[in-house]
């Protein structure tokens, strides 16, 4: 713990040097210390790195790094443990919610979150996800939805938009053949075990602010409420959308939000409160 004197710039304490108050810069934003100081492997502009950063900011702001365990399954974010300076488990494709169940059931006082992509959560792992939420597993699911398989380089995901071109839907997603994109947040909000469900996007500074707030709430709710929190985050995938990051940001505003409207879908109720 630093004292105020230690924090004070030396010049300010010196009575003979007049301190120019306006010119004293203070840090108003810096990389969270919980984020490992290495370059991330993600493509330029990738939302994964951004959301990693947000989660670590929240963990730092809440000062819960010692009590947080993350689970990152297969997908681009499989290397999350390289960047998040907390204890983590890498899970098999789709199985993050089962792994997190194993962790949280045995350590109910810890903060547990999964970090899953759309292929992981909504395709191969939807059974584990749905049942975990139905049981009201008391952890946070961070669901990164960028409508495409990133790691395997651009195949159709369960959340690919109708008509959207991917390497496995070269003529655009044909809804009559593959069905419509799965609206994960709405689907899971139907389950009584879900206590907080929200969908945010990180393609603007305000979107980032709202997403961080949602993550902050979700971490806090883990301690306050019984049940599962789901924060769906609409992110970009510039490399596989064949766009620049800025074009990808516009695509989210113009196309993604039509299928995946932003906002809170389910908020905790008083009867969800934990009772001691």
């Amino acid at each position: 713990m630093q004292t105020e004197e230690q924090l004070l710039p030396q010049t300010a304490l010196d009575p003979v040097t007049p301190a120019c108050h306006e010119e004293t810069y203070e840090v108003v934003y810096h990389k969270p210390a919980t984020l490992v100081d290495v370059p991330m492997h993600y493509c330029p502009g990738c939302a994964h790195s951004l959301v990693h950063k947000l989660i670590m900011e929240v963990v730092e702001d809440l000062d819960i790094a010692e009590k947080t365990i993350g689970v990152a399954p297969v997908g681009c974010s499989v290397f999350a443990y390289d960047y998040m300076n907390i204890d983590m488990q890498e899970a098999a494709h789709g199985r993050a919610c089962a792994v997190a169940t194993g962790i949280k059931r045995l350590m109910p006082d810890k903060y547990v979150f999964t970090y899953q992509g759309d292929g992981d959560l909504a395709a191969i792992g939807i059974a584990e996800t749905l049942h975990a939420v139905n049981r009201g597993e008391n952890f946070l699911i961070v669901f990164m939805n960028n409508a495409v398989y990133g790691m395997t380089s651009g195949q159709m995901a369960p959340t690919t938009l109708p008509g959207m071109h991917t390497t496995t839907s070269p003529d655009g997603r044909d809804v009559s053949y593959y069905g419509a994109p799965i609206k994960v947040a709405e689907l899971l909000a139907n389950l009584p075990g879900a206590v907080y469900v929200t969908r945010q996007a990180v393609n603007s500074a305000n979107g980032v602010r709202r997403t961080k707030k949602a993550l902050m709430n979700a971490f806090k709710y883990q301690q306050q409420y019984k049940g599962t929190c789901l924060v769906e985050i609409i992110g970009n995938c510039p490399s596989n959308w064949k766009m620049t990051p800025l074009e990808a940001s516009r695509f989210i505003d113009e196309e993604m939000v039509k299928t995946f409207p932003l906002g809170d879908i389910k908020l905790p109720q008083a009867d969800n409160l934990k009772t001691e």
Partner: protein, 109 residues
């Protein structure tokens, strides 16, 4: 969303001054920050960094320290600084300094 990367901003007098520091070796030049910067203070370099990316350079004279660039930076390469808004003239006394310092500490938490 507007692509501000090619514009430069006129420098004007402001009450709050900001500045950014960019870890250029980790910057991937995605330019998300340039669009987030209302002051058009960020542009892409002509040279490349060690990884081969053009990186972001800042015109700190135009910076207000609004933090938008750092928020949208996926790689967390931007550190933002800001001065206090100019308040009423102050006498520099140890009590005064303590009081202001307390403000700084409590707002940065």
């Amino acid at each position: 969303m507007e692509d501000n990367s090619k514009k430069t901003a006129p420098v004007k007098e402001r009450k709050v001054k900001g500045k950014v520091e960019i870890d250029i070796q980790k910057c991937k030049g995605c330019e998300l920050c340039t669009a987030a910067c209302k002051e058009q203070a960020l542009t892409l370099s002509e040279t490349i960094n060690i990884k081969g990316y053009r990186y972001i350079i800042a015109n700190n004279d135009a910076c207000t320290g609004c933090v938008n660039c750092a928020l949208v930076c996926p790689d967390a390469v931007i550190t933002v600084y800001r001065t206090h808004p100019a308040k009423k003239p102050v006498d520099i006394t140890p009590e005064n300094i303590r009081e202001q310092l307390h403000d700084i500490v409590s707002t940065s938490k």
